[in-house]
C-alpha cells in the first residue's frame, strides 16, 4: 500500500463519503472507484500490443482486400 495526500472537490468528497459509509473505509471506496473508472476508460493496464503500431487507417475495415493484395504479390501466408 502507498500513502497519498490528494485534494478533492467538496462535491466529490461528499460522494466518496457516502459510499465509504456503506463500505466501511474511505480509502477502500476511492481505490474501488478508481479501479472501476480506469477499467471503463481503458487508459491504464493496457497490454503493450494494443496501439503498438501504425498501419493503414482502413486495415481492419478492408482486411480481405489487404489479404488478397498480399497473396497476389506473394506475401507471407
Amino acid at each position: 500500500m502507498v500513502r497519498r495526500t490528494i485534494s478533492l472537490p467538496a462535491s466529490v468528497d461528499a460522494k466518496v463519503l457516502k459510499i465509504a459509509e456503506e463500505e466501511g473505509s474511505y480509502s477502500a471506496a476511492v481505490a474501488r472507484l478508481v479501479e472501476e473508472g480506469t477499467k471503463r476508460s481503458g487508459k491504464v493496464d493496457q497490454p503493450d500490443w494494443i496501439g503498438s503500431g501504425e498501419g493503414p487507417a482502413d486495415l481492419s475495415e478492408n482486411l480481405d482486400k489487404y489479404i488478397r493484395a498480399a497473396l497476389r504479390r506473394g506475401g507471407r501466408r
Binding site: 494494443i50 498501419g55 498480399a70
Partner: protein
C-alpha cells in the same frame, strides 16, 4: 461472459492509426481474460500485423497470446470438423477457416462474438438460434469511425 474474437477487432486494437482503433481498444480491454482467440485468428492477425503494421507489434501480440493474457482456443478435431461444416454450409459466402473457427468456438462455448465483419456473421447465422450474439453491432461500430 466469454467473448470469441475475430481478426478485425484485434488488428484495429493493435494499430493506433486504424479508423476503429478506439472502439477495438475499449472492447478488447473490457473483455480482458474473457477473450477467447482461436488459433486460426492468431495466425491471421500475426500475419497481417507483420505485413501491414510492424514486426514489434506482431511479436507483442503473440507474446500476449503466449502469456495467458487471453484464452487461446486450439481447434480440436471436433471443433475443426465443426468449422469445416460451417464453411461448407455457407459455401456461397466463402467464409474460410478463420471466420468458421470463430463461429465454431462461439457455438461450442455459447459465447458472444467480437467481430467487425458484420456481413459474414449476419449472413451465416448459427445452426441453433437466429443470430450470433455480437459484442458490438453495426450502428455502434459506425459511431466510432475515426474517433480519436
Amino acid at each position: 461472459m466469454a467473448v470469441v474474437a475475430d481478426s478485425t477487432p484485434l488488428i484495429a486494437a493493435a494499430s493506433r492509426t486504424d479508423a476503429f482503433h478506439q472502439l477495438a481498444r475499449r472492447l478488447v480491454t473490457a473483455a480482458g481474460r474473457d477473450l477467447i482467440v482461436p488459433d486460426p485468428v492468431i495466425v491471421e492477425v500475426d500475419w497481417m500485423l507483420r505485413d501491414r503494421v510492424d514486426l514489434l507489434t506482431a511479436r507483442r501480440f503473440l507474446n500476449a497470446m503466449a502469456t495467458g493474457q487471453y484464452r487461446r482456443a486450439t481447434l480440436s478435431p471436433s471443433l475443426f470438423e465443426a468449422a469445416r461444416a460451417i464453411d461448407e454450409r455457407h459455401a456461397d459466402l466463402d467464409l474460410g477457416l478463420v471466420d468458421a473457427s470463430v463461429m465454431a468456438v462461439a457455438e461450442a462455448t455459447d459465447s458472444v462474438v467480437l467481430t467487425f465483419d458484420f456481413t459474414h456473421f449476419r449472413a451465416a447465422p448459427p445452426a441453433r438460434g437466429r443470430a450470433w450474439r455480437l459484442m458490438v453491432d453495426e450502428s455502434e461500430y459506425e459511431r466510432w469511425r475515426g474517433r480519436r
